[in-house]
C-alpha cells in the first residue's frame, strides 16, 4: 500500500480536520490520523482539491494539536472484511472487533457504500413472515425483503418488541430461522446487554452479527455503522443465500450524528437543523433491503427509531416514513394502560402486505378481515371520543357496541404476552371472534361468502 503521510494539518474543528497541500487525494479515501499521544484515529476525505483536503474524523477532533498531527491517506474506501466467520461476532462502527477476539481475516473486502440496486434487478417481496404478533401479522403484515420500521418514543417497549420479532419470525410452514444482523447506534449499556442476553437465551447468538456503538462512543462512528451492518447483511443474503433480518436501533441517534457533522461542515439546514440530504442519506440505508432476481437470500429491515417528543411529524420519523414500506407505530396511551405490545394500528401501515396475504399465502379472508377491523376500530375510536364528551349513557345501542368493540380489540387482539407466538390462523380466528359481536349487516368490508364461513352467528 503506497500510503501517503503528511503533517500539514491547518485546522481542526467540530470533527473536521483540514490538511493543506496534499495533491491527488481521492474523495472518500480512508485516513489514519496519529495524534501527539501516538494514538491512531480514523477518518474519511469528504472534500478534496490539490490545495486542501477536508477530513471527517470519526473519533472527533478534540485535543488534536495541529503541529504534531500526522495524517496518513490509505488510498482505499472504507471497507469491511467479510467471511462466514462474522456470524457470532461483535464489531464497532468501523468494523473492528469489540468482543476481544481477533479481527476477521479475509481476502474479501467490500466498500461499505455500495452502488444502488438496479430496479430491474429486484423482485417484488411477497413471502409472508409470521411474527406471531397479531397487530403485525393480521393488520400490518411483514414480508421477506420489506423495510418496516418501528416508530417508538422514549420509555416505550420497542426493544422488547424488536426482540420478540427476532425470536419468533419465520415463514408459517417453514421452521428455518433468519440470520440476524443487529446494528446498535448510540445505545445504552443496558439496552446493548438486553439484546445480547436475548440472543444468547434464545440460542441464536451463533447466527447473529452485532455492530455496536454505545451512547458514549464517538457519534461519527454511527454514520459508518449501519453501512457496515448492511454490507455484512448483503454478504450473508446474496453471497451465502441466507434470509437476513436486520434490526437497527436507534435511527434517531444516527440522524443526530449526521446533523452534528453537517453542522460542522456548514451545510445548509432544511428542517430542525437537519441537512437537506437527510432523506437521501436515510434512503441509501433503507433501500439496501429487498429481494434480487435469481438470488436465494433476502434482506428484511426493521429499523427502530424514537420520535422526539412523541412527534411523528419530526423529520426523522417523517422522512423514514417517506422511504420505508410502512411503519409500526407504538402508542404511549396504550402503554400507559398496560397493554403490550402497545401498537397503535391507525397510523401503522404495511404497504407490501397486499401481495403477501390472502388465498395461497395466508388465508382467503385475511385482506378483508384486516380492512374490516381497521374500519370498525376507526369508527370505535370516534365513538369513544364522542362518549368522552357526551357520556357513554347518551350513546345509542349501536354506538355502544362500537365502544365495547374498542375495548375488546385492545385487550384481546392487541394485547398479548411477550412469549405468546400466535399463528396467523389463530390471529384470524381471534379477529372473527371480535367481528362476530356485530350483526353481519354492519360488516361491509368482508364479503358474503366470508361471513357465511366465519361469522359465528351465521348458520
Amino acid at each position: 500500500m503506497s500510503a501517503k503521510e503528511y503533517r500539514t494539518a491547518s485546522s481542526a474543528r467540530g470533527g473536521l480536520l483540514t490538511v493543506a497541500n496534499v495533491p491527488n487525494i481521492a474523495f472518500g479515501d480512508r485516513v489514519h490520523i496519529r495524534d501527539q499521544q501516538g494514538n491512531t484515529r480514523n477518518g474519511q476525505v469528504i472534500r478534496s482539491s490539490d490545495e486542501e483536503v477536508l477530513i471527517q474524523v470519526f473519533e472527533g477532533t478534540s485535543e488534536l494539536d495541529l503541529e504534531s498531527t500526522w495524517v496518513r491517506f490509505l488510498d482505499e474506501p472504507v471497507e469491511i472484511a467479510l467471511s462466514p466467520e462474522i456470524l457470532g461476532r461483535i464489531f464497532n462502527g468501523l468494523g473492528e472487533p469489540r468482543d476481544y477476539r481477533p479481527p476477521i481475516v479475509s481476502s474479501l473486502r467490500r466498500s461499505i457504500s455500495a452502488a444502488a440496486f438496479n430496479p430491474a434487478a429486484r423482485t417484488y417481496p411477497k413471502e409472508f413472515i409470521q411474527t406471531g404478533i397479531s397487530t403485525i401479522d393480521g393488520l400490518n403484515s411483514l414480508v421477506r425483503g420489506q423495510k418496516l420500521p418501528i416508530f417508538s418514543a422514549s420509555g416505550l417497549p420497542h426493544n422488547r418488541l424488536a426482540a420478540q420479532i427476532v425470536r419468533q419470525a419465520k415463514l408459517p410452514d417453514d421452521d428455518s430461522r433468519f440470520s440476524v444482523v443487529f446494528a446498535a447506534m448510540g445505545v445504552s449499556y443496558a439496552d446493548a446487554r438486553f439484546f445480547q442476553e436475548e440472543f444468547a437465551s434464545s440460542g441464536v447468538l451463533g447466527n447473529v452479527v452485532m455492530f455496536v456503538n454505545m451512547a458514549d462512543d464517538p457519534p461519527v462512528e454511527r454514520l459508518t455503522l449501519p453501512r457496515m451492518a448492511l454490507t455484512a447483511a448483503e454478504y450473508l443474503a446474496f453471497d451465502l443465500d441466507r434470509h437476513v433480518l436486520v434490526v437497527m436501533t436507534d435511527m434517531t441517534h444516527y440522524a443526530e450524528a449526521l446533523r452534528e457533522v453537517a453542522t460542522a461542515k456548514g451545510d445548509v439546514p432544511a428542517r430542525k437543523g437537519y441537512p437537506g440530504y437527510l432523506y437521501s442519506d436515510l434512503a441509501e440505508i433503507y433501500e439496501r433491503s429487498g429481494r434480487i432476481k435469481d438470488r436465494h437470500g433476502s434482506i428484511t429491515l426493521v429499523p427502530v427509531l424514537s420520535m422526539p417528543s412523541d412527534d411523528i411529524t419530526h423529520p426523522i420519523p417523517d422522512l423514514t416514513g417517506y422511504i420505508t414500506e410502512g411503519q409500526i407505530v407504538l402508542s404511549r396511551e396504550l402503554h400507559n394502560q398496560g397493554i403490550y405490545p402497545p401498537v397503535h394500528i391507525s397510523p401503522s401501515l404495511s404497504r407490501l402486505m397486499k401481495d403477501g396475504i390472502g388465498k395461497d399465502f395466508t388465508r382467503e379472508d385475511h385482506p378483508h378481515v384486516s380492512n374490516q377491523l381497521y374500519a370498525l376500530y376507526a369508527r370505535a375510536l370516534e365513538t369513544r371520543n364522542l362518549a368522552s364528551i357526551i357520556g357513554a349513557d347518551e350513546l345509542s345501542t349501536r354506538d355502544r357496541r362500537y365502544l365495547e368493540f374498542a375495548d375488546a380489540f385492545e385487550n384481546r387482539f392487541v394485547r398479548q404476552s411477550e412469549d405468546e407466538d400466535r399463528s396467523i390462523e389463530e390471529t384470524l380466528n381471534l379477529s372473527w371472534d371480535l367481528l362476530s359481536t356485530f350483526p353481519s349487516q354492519a360488516l361491509t368490508r368482508v364479503n358474503e361468502t366470508e361471513i357465511a364461513k366465519y361469522h359465528r352467528q351465521s348458520v
Binding site: 479515501d29 472534500r47 430496479p119 423529520p315 416514513g321
Partner: protein, 600 residues
C-alpha cells in the same frame, strides 16, 4: 458520435456530486465525463477557466488531477422507437440492458445507448410525401409499429426543415440507417434516421396552444366525478407519507384513457417500480384490451440513486412526453415525487453556496416549478395534429404540512389539486382524497363532456353530493358537542346519506378486482342511485317514517357493496338493482301513506 473535437481538461476539486473542473472552452450546460471511470455529469456554472459540474454518479475515489472531457452537447435524450415498455434511469440509461450487462448493482461510468441499435423496425413511409416536396420540422415521415398498441410516427427533427430529397421505401431498418434526406435553406443535407436527439431542458416546439376540452377519464370516482382533470392540464397530488399518492398515480397510469403513459419514479422506492414492471404486462388496457405495458414507459431514479440524476429525471420524462405529443397523442406523465426533485435542486444549490430563501430552498424554486409544469398542455403540433401532455405530480410535504414551499408554490401553478389526508388514510378511507381541500378549476368544461356523453344530470348530482358532504361535516360537529339526540330526523338522514356517499361512491379500493376501475357510466349510475335512495328516504322522513326504520333497511348494505358487485359492463344489472331498491322505499311509502289516510 464524433470524439475528435472533444475538449480535454482536469479535475480541480471534488465536493461530493459537485466537481470543479478546468476545461477551457466548455459551455454552460455541456455534458462532461470526468475521472478515469468516465463518470457522466453536466456543467452548471462557469468562472474563468474553471467550471462547476454536477455529476450523475457517485464520485467516491475520484481524485484531483484526473482527466475531464467535454462532450460538446447538453443533456439530451434519444427519441425513437423502442422507448415504450422500457425502464430507463434519470439520464435515460436503459436499466434492463444494464442489468443484463452488469448485474444487480448499477456500475459507474457505464453508459449503454438508450435505444437498441441491433433491432430492426418495419418502416412505412407516409403516402403523401414525395421527393422534392418542401417539408417542415415535425412532419411525419412515416410510421413504425412500436408495440401492438402504439404506432410510432417518425418525425422530422424540430431543428430541420427544407426540401425532402429522398424518402426510404417500406422496409426493415436499423435505428442508424438513413430513412430520408432533407436539404435545408442553407443547402446543407441532413440524413434522417428513425430516431433523433433533443436537449431535455428545452421544450419542444409546437404551433399553438389550445385549451383542454375533454376530461382525462381515470376510472376513479372521486377524481373523475368530483375533481376532474382535463387532458393537457396540470395536477398535483400532495399528501403525507402513506396517504396514497403512489396508489393514485399507479391507478391513473393503469386506467386513464391516454395513448401513452410516462411514469417517473423520482427519488422514490425501487419496489414501486418493480410493482409496475411486474403487474402492467399482466393487466389489460380497458380501452384496447392490450397489455398496459404496451403504452407505458418508466423512468427511475430511486431514492438511493445519486441525487443529481434525480434533478434530470423529470426533464427526461417530460421531453419524451412532448415527443409523443408531437406525434399527435394524448400523453399522461406522472412524477412521483416532485418534492424529491425540488430537494435535489436544494442540495445542489446548497453545495454551490447559493443563498437559501425558505427551508433551504433557493430563490428560483418557484420559477423552476412553474417552467416545468408549463410544459404540459394541449397543442396544435407542427404537423397540424392535436396532441396533449397531462402532468400529474405527487408532492411530499414534510410533516404533511401543505404550507411548505414546494406544496404552496405548486398549488399556484396547477389547475387540479387532489389533496390526500392522513385522517382519511388512518381510517382506511381510500383513496384518502379530501373533498374539502381538493379542487378542480375545470368542472364546467368537464360538465359539458359528461352532459353530452353520459347524463345531463351530472353537474346537479355532483353538487348535491358535495352539498351533503358539507352538511355532514357541519352536523357531525354538532353531534360532537351535544350528542346525536340534538338532530332532527331529516338531519340524521343526511348523516346516513353522506355515509352512503362515502362508502358507496368515494371509497374505491385499488386492490379490488372489480372496483379498481369504474367507467363513467358506472360512476354516474352509482352516484345517481345513492342520491335517488337518499331522496326517496328524505320523502319518507317527511311522511313521518322514523330514521331508525330506514337505516336498518337491508337494501342499504347491498347499496354500499354495489361498486364491487357490478363491474363497468353490468350497467343493466345495476339498473335492475336500482328498481329493486327504490321499490322497497315505495312500499314503505304506500304503507305510510295509507296509514295517513285512515285516521288512527
Amino acid at each position: 458520435m464524433n470524439t475528435i473535437s472533444n475538449k480535454k481538461g482536469k479535475i480541480k476539486d471534488i465536493n461530493g456530486p459537485i466537481v470543479t473542473i478546468e476545461l477551457p472552452g466548455v459551455q454552460n450546460g455541456e455534458q462532461v465525463r470526468i475521472g478515469s471511470l468516465g463518470l457522466y455529469g453536466e456543467v452548471i456554472s462557469l468562472e474563468g477557466n474553471e467550471a462547476l459540474a454536477q455529476i450523475y454518479e457517485s464520485t467516491e475515489m475520484v481524485r484531483p488531477g484526473e482527466p475531464v472531457e467535454g462532450l460538446g452537447h447538453p443533456l439530451s435524450v434519444e427519441l425513437g422507437p423502442g422507448l415504450i415498455g422500457g425502464i430507463f434511469d434519470g439520464v435515460q440509461r436503459p436499466l434492463e440492458a444494464m442489468f443484463l450487462k452488469a448485474g444487480d448493482q448499477i456500475p459507474r461510468g457505464l453508459s449503454p445507448l438508450p435505444l437498441d441499435r441491433d433491432k430492426t423496425w418495419h418502416f412505412v413511409p407516409s403516402e403523401n410525401l414525395e421527393p422534392n416536396m418542401p417539408i417542415i420540422n415535425g412532419a411525419v415521415l412515416g410510421k413504425v409499429q412500436e408495440t401492438e398498441t402504439v404506432e410510432h410516427r417518425i418525425l422530422v427533427p424540430p431543428n430541420i426543415s427544407g426540401e425532402l430529397i429522398e424518402l426510404a421505401p417500406e422496409g426493415d431498418y436499423h435505428l442508424e440507417e438513413s430513412i430520408g434526406q432533407v436539404r435545408d435553406q442553407q443547402g446543407e443535407i441532413h440524413h434522417l434516421k428513425l430516431y433523433h436527439r433533443w436537449p431535455v431542458r428545452r421544450p419542444r416546439p409546437y404551433q399553438s396552444r389550445d385549451n383542454g376540452i375533454e376530461p382525462l377519464i381515470t376510472g376513479q370516482r372521486i377524481l373523475d366525478t368530483f375533481f376532474p382533470l382535463l387532458k393537457g392540464s396540470k395536477c398535483a397530488v400532495p399528501g403525507p407519507f402513506g396517504a396514497g399518492k403512489t396508489v393514485v398515480q399507479h391507478q391513473v397510469a393503469r386506467w386513464a384513457n391516454a395513448d401513452i403513459v410516462i411514469y417517473v419514479g423520482c427519488g422514490e422506492r425501487g419496489n414501486e417500480l418493480v410493482d409496475v414492471l411486474d403487474s402492467f404486462p399482466k393487466l389489460k388496457d380497458p380501452y384496447t384490451g392490450r397489455p398496459l405495458m404496451d403504452r407505458t414507459l418508466l423512468i427511475a431514479n430511486t431514492s438511493n440513486m445519486p441525487v443529481v440524476a434525480r434533478e434530470a429525471s423529470i426533464y427526461v420524462g417530460i421531453t419524451i412526453a412532448e415527443y409523443y405529443r408531437d406525434q399527435g397523442y394524448d400523453v399522461v406523465m406522472l412524477a412521483d415525487s416532485t418534492s424529491r426533485w425540488a430537494e435535489a435542486l436544494r442540495e445542489v444549490s446548497g453545495r454551490l453556496g447559493q443563498m437559501p430563501v425558505e427551508e433551504g430552498y433557493p430563490a428560483y424554486l418557484a420559477s423552476r416549478l412553474a417552467a416545468f409544469y408549463e410544459r404540459a398542455g394541449r397543442v396544435d403540433t407542427m404537423d397540424s395534429g392535436k396532441g396533449s401532455v397531462t402532468l400529474i405530480g405527487a408532492v411530499s410535504p414534510p410533516g404533511g404540512d401543505f404550507s411548505e414551499p414546494v406544496t404552496s408554490h405548486t398549488k399556484e401553478i396547477i389547475q387540479t389539486f387532489w389533496a390526500l389526508s392522513k385522517e382519511l388514510a388512518d381510517a382506511r378511507h381510500y383513496p384518502a382524497i379530501d373533498w374539502v381541500d381538493s379542487f378542480s378549476a375545470d368542472v364546467s368544461t368537464a360538465a359539458e363532456w359528461w352532459h353530452e356523453n353520459i347524463d345531463r344530470g351530472w353537474e346537479k348530482r355532483r353538487s348535491q353530493a358535495l352539498g351533503m358532504l358539507a352538511r355532514d361535516a357541519e352536523l357531525s360537529r354538532i353531534v360532537n358537542l351535544v350528542g346525536p339526540e340534538a338532530l332532527s330526523s331529516a338531519q340524521r338522514w343526511v348523516l346516513e346519506g353522506a355515509a352512503l356517499i362515502k362508502e358507496g361512491v368515494l371509497q374505491q379500493s385499488a386492490l379490488d378486482p372489480v372496483d379498481t376501475f369504474s367507467s363513467p357510466e358506472k360512476q354516474f349510475m352509482l352516484l345517481d342511485l345513492i342520491l335517488s335512495v337518499y331522496d326517496a328516504g328524505a320523502d319518507l322522513i317527511e311522511l313521518g317514517v322514523p330514521v331508525q326504520e330506514l337505516s336498518e333497511m337491508s337494501v342499504l348494505a347491498r347499496l354500499r357493496r354495489c361498486k364491487e358487485l357490478y363491474d363497468s359492463n353490468q350497467i343493466e344489472q345495476l339498473k335492475a338493482f336500482r328498481e329493486e331498491a327504490l321499490n322497497d322505499f315505495k312500499e314503505i311509502h304506500s304503507e305510510y301513506a295509507q296509514r295517513g289516510e285512515q285516521p288512527a
